[in-house]
Amino acid sequence: MMAERRALLLIGSPRGIGHSTSDRLGGRVLDVLKEHGFLTEKLHVHAAMASPQELESALAVIGAADMVILSLPLYVDSFPAPVIAFLEQIAERRIGAGRARLFVIIQCGFPEKEQNATALAIAERFAAEAGWSWLGGVGLGEAEWQHKDVARALAPVAEAIANGTAIPQSVLRKAMPAWLYRFGGNIMWRLAARKHHATRSLRARPYAE
């Protein structure tokens, strides 16, 4: 009888399970892995870092995982701080060393997916230092804009992960030119501020001397 294979979705967004793009995108990959016989589980990194007890139980889950899908938003060219803190613990304590395989999905709020490259390099480096196998990753731009396309496009990526075959690097086409993204985005932020009656203070400088 084949041993059970465990896949874990590690959500690195502060919005967590059920409320984040990271969950929706990573969840798509997890669904496919489940169809391939993996036992699946989700874990929210920020919740895991909330207390020493939460951290210990999260690390136990990591230690039992054969496949970890880390799905997260790009924060200043890297990961959100709690994700780095969590990975520091994993690497220092060699949790999952020689067993876990890592795949990463990063989405940024810019149209250029290339902006995720440094974070992907950091993820690969983590895998090497922790003794995990590096399966690769996808960096997504404009994820918030065309979420449905992204979720659909991730299916073949998940199939490749499950089957151990080469992972497609081209996930989706560009939704719109960068100049249009910037133009539309700038309008969107003004509308968002208007909703909070904050249009006039959008450019405020509270810390100016």
Partner: protein
């Protein structure tokens, strides 16, 4: 010039580098404030964008993250000091960097052919990165230097410089060279 050093050490690993840095900055004529981040309680950024669309320029979380954002908004030179962590910065430093968001405007700009945000204040700080490694590691060093260059784009920093030191490095010479590069 007014320099702010974000000390992202998790223990004593950056002590020598910090001393060399302080001396080099003083010799270059900077007034330096060091913020030891491991001694500050800074909650993680919630990604709510409240600092952009509700409380413009100030984080909705009232903790030491606000003081860090204020110090960064007012400085001429921002310095990252950190143990190099998977090629990047430590979790201690990153908790402060993530809370820098209020100092950035939501509006997009084209910088070096890429989309980035405008800096909220009249002038952006220069950015210096000093990473500490226990032993030479070219790959980690390259990732770190790239990360600092990328962060400089996000800050619209007019000048940037980065270096990585190990116990064998000449700390004083490295810190002096960095200070000169951004002065």
């Amino acid at each position: 010039m007014n320099a702010v050093v974000l000390d992202g050490a998790r223990g004593t690993e950056c002590r020598g580098a910090l001393a060399a840095l302080q001396q080099a900055l003083a010799e270059a004529g900077h007034t330096t404030e060091v913020i030891p981040l491991r001694e500050r309680t800074i909650a993680p950024c919630r990604g709510c964008f409240g600092c952009w669309v509700t409380t413009a320029g100030e984080c909705v979380i009232d903790d030491a993250g606000r003081q860090v954002a204020r110090a960064i908004a007012r400085c001429d030179l921002l310095v990252y000091l950190t143990p190099v962590t998977f090629g990047g910065v430590s979790s201690e430093l990153k908790k402060a960097v993530d809370r820098m968001l209020p100092d950035i405007l939501p509006f997009f700009a084209r910088v070096n052919g890429e989309t980035h945000h405008h800096w909220r204040y009249q002038k952006s700080p220069r950015l210096m990165g000093l990473g500490v490694l226990p032993r030479p590691d070219r790959e980690a060093e390259n990732i770190f230097k790239t990360l600092i260059e990328r962060n400089a784009l996000n800050l619209n920093a007019p000048r940037t410089a980065a270096a990585v030191v190990t116990p064998e490095s000449d700390l004083r010479a490295t810190a002096a060279a960095l200070a000169k590069a951004v002065t």
